[in-house]
Amino acid sequence: MSLKGRDVISIRDLSRSEILEVLNAARHLIPVAEGKKRVTTLEGKLLALAFFEPSTRTRLSFETAMQRMGGQTITIADPSVSSVAKGESLSDTVRMLSCYADALVLRHPHEGASRLAAQVSDKPVINAGDGAGQHPTQTLLDLATMLERFDTLSGLKVVLMGDLRYGRTVHSLAHALGSFGAELVLSSPSSLRLPEEVRHDLDQMGAKVREEEHLERAIKDADVLYVTRIQKERFGDLAEYARVSGSYRFDPALLQKVKSTFIVMHPLPRVAEIPPEVDRTPHAAYFRQAFLAVPVRMALLSLILSGRTGVRG
């Protein structure tokens, strides 16, 4: 099925072949994202960005992706100065935006907000993170990073570390990696374990998953360590936050014992989970990961808005 005109709310909305289509297109769009090549595939297209939660990377990478392909954007970056502050429902805001733009990108603090938006919008909606729920475009760029490095996703051993409960990026990522046949190792404090329903889904699809609280054992023989930020804003109890965040820092000394091809990923922003010494090692992949956000979002936007990327591949 073509991606043209489609909503992307959850990574489950995309089949494996559609995910690979986006990743393949993204690979060919890297020179455009780097400014070395120019395309005008999205000329005349307008993308609305509605961000009801703070975001730097996600919003800017969508804006960059659109502009690099000749398109334009309109943005709600601060809901406190929009009619949302007057009590307008999300449904009405989305209806209004869908009258103006050709597609919508939504970030919202409530889970399910994008699914609701997709129901009321007659233009495609892309979920850019809803509460502790889904964040499918982050998953796509995470997969792009692994695929670029290892040329495959099947059989990769990926350690997911940190906040697996509230960290929305890991839920989508775990689902996608499971469907591609990667092996997952979960390493988190017991209070931040992967939610039951995500685990249930992984078990249902027959994914290889195990838990290993001890990080040194978890990363032995691993290909990827995916570190997430322990999110202060999701904790009711700050004492509990202080306790668990202190215990989840990646110790660079552990790099002595990993495979030479091993990479460390992080959705960023990082706080103290990965010390800067790791940045200078060949294992650090998180800045490449942040860059790949642009070609991946270019690929997705062009396939949704015009059904083609405008580059060969």
């Binding site: 999300l90 919202h108 889970e111 399910g112 907000a113 609701l116 129901q119 502790a132 889904q134």
Partner: protein, 162 residues
């Protein structure tokens, strides 16, 4: 279809037959009052009789509850809610003292407006003009998942939309 219930003295107590209405039989013992909440009997026509039999002998179930409501035929939404909390229940529609339809409750694959999402951060709990929607992801034991926030639930009584 009169239901006969033996009292402690062995004397037959009879729940009177109804001309028109609904009989919900084979409710797991102890859940009749929850079924009444689903039916919102307080909103019924004031001439309607509601009969409740608690802890009745049943060949099939050991013990069961029965609810009879005059002048009411169940909406699909209420029938789905009963199927969630009392999956063994059977529903008989009575017209002119005769059983016109009798069927076990059955749960569709999607439940709209029947449950409220237990996730306080789900968009359906934040004043949007939207009905809750759940998909059945497993039937035994029953588990449903919110179509919006994708949170699963296996306990339904506290989350029935009232």
């Amino acid at each position: 279809m009169p239901s006969n219930v033996s009292g402690p003295t062995g004397k037959e107590l009879r729940i009177t037959p109804i001309r028109n209405g609904t009989v919900i039989d084979h409710i797991p013992s102890g859940l009749a009052l929850e079924v009444l909440k689903v039916l919102k009997v307080e909103n019924l026509d004031k001439d309607s009789t509601v009969s409740v039999a608690l802890h009745v002998r049943s060949q099939r179930m050991g013990w069961k509850d029965i609810v009879k409501v005059e002048h009411m035929e169940l909406s699909a939404q209420k029938s789905n809610a009963i199927a969630l909390i009392a999956p063994t229940a059977t529903i008989s529609i009575i017209r002119d003292f005769k059983v016109r339809e009798k069927h076990p409750v059955s749960l569709p694959d999607r439940l709209v407006g029947v449950l409220t999402c237990p996730n306080p951060n789900c968009i359906t709990n934040h004043g949007e003009p939207v009905e809750s929607e759940f998909e059945v992801v497993r039937r035994r034991p029953l588990a449903v998942r919110c179509a919006y926030c994708e949170r699963s639930m296996e306990e339904f009584l506290p989350h029935l939309a009232r």
